[in-house]
Symmetry: C2
């Protein structure tokens, strides 16, 4: 497979974790989101992915977009080791937590949104940082409350092995730290994160370990 | 089942379509997103759904949140009629298009985001409308391009029966019209939408037909 990737993209990072966890080799292609006005907007990349976002996964002649759709595809085509539990209610819980990050936190803090706040709405940096932190804190508070209630004793978000919820959580907590969000109020989430980083799939997928990361 | 719902919520509307399409009865409970500062923030509702968002689906003793997770749950527990094709690549395409709406358009235009722009960033109505239209147009352009390229001749977004992509598309196009987005540039999307509204599951799930809609 081939992965069009950017080292610090949360969505691409999710797919990197999924690929590594399932032992799938993918040749990385760096798409620099800031260079030359954003390589994701270039015509060559848009021809592959009209949404102009990373990641894009190429599997043979198939071109797949959207991180959560790609992860479900990997789960269906490479079911072992699984990233979803077997029971439908458990699967719904895991997907709900993953989507709470993928739909309710991350889209609001994406690069293009911060750029719009700066360039179109002329908001200064402190206002943009407050915006970022607002949506992160709102989302993490609810997620901590929910996971601590539903699965108080598990090692990962759900169960003793990682799931799609952890795959989304790890990049989100990294971003929270970048914006100096205090994570002490989220002990349940931090415990799952720590368990993830003990696994090579997660540690090797970290932005700092990517070939397109700055030295 | 029981559905905590608001007639004009896109996310709740998706679940209404899924329930009706699969012939599942659900007792509706209106959660008024604007009354009394938003009933979704009330303690009683937060106890059910800590995210303070609609929809919430209750199935026996299970409480399920996040529209896309709920729809996958319905697909797994009530597989007929299906809302996903059988082939993994096709499923990935459908999920990608659904997520392009659920992750890249709708979260940016959600009520709470428009309220933040107004109340915290003091942006006037014309700026908020431009924001709304910006993300809708960006998303619909890419989606039109992608679906017209991958499935040019299908009746629905993917195939001859509706899928999760159509379930997300119909509420999104309704919202686009509310904000006076010109839809003529998206003939492929409008064709899928028209096919959807010919089905009772879609027409009965429309906001105007809900018990909590204003008379």
């Amino acid at each position: 497979m081939e992965l069009y990737d950017y080292y610090r993209s949360s969505a691409a990072w999710r797919v990197r974790i999924g690929l590594r966890y399932k032992g799938i080799e993918a040749i990385p292609h760096g798409v620099h989101l800031l260079r030359d006005g954003g390589e994701q907007h270039a015509q060559a990349y848009r021809a592959l992915n009209p949404f102009g976002l990373v990641p894009t996964l190429v599997d043979g002649k198939e071109v797949l977009t959207q991180s959560m759709a790609i992860l479900e595809y990997l789960e269906e085509t490479h079911p072992a080791p699984p990233l979803l539990p077997r029971d439908p209610v458990a699967r719904a819980q895991v997907r709900s937590w993953a989507q709470a990050i993928a739909c309710d936190i991350h889209p609001l803090n994406n690069l293009r949104v911060l750029q719009y706040l700066e360039q179109e709405l002329h908001q200064p940096e402190d206002v943009r940082r407050a915006w970022y932190r607002h949506w992160v804190i709102l989302g993490l508070e609810a997620l901590e409350c929910e996971i601590a209630r539903v699965r108080p004793d598990d090692r990962f978000c759900w169960g003793e092995t990682p799931t799609l919820a952890d795959v989304c959580l790890v990049p989100q907590l990294y971003n929270a730290r970048r914006y100096e969000v205090e994570l002490a109020p989220y002990p349940r989430l931090c415990r799952a994160e720590a368990a993830c980083y003990e696994l090579e799939a997660f540690s090797l997928a970290h932005p700092d370990r990517q070939p397109d990361a700055p030295r």
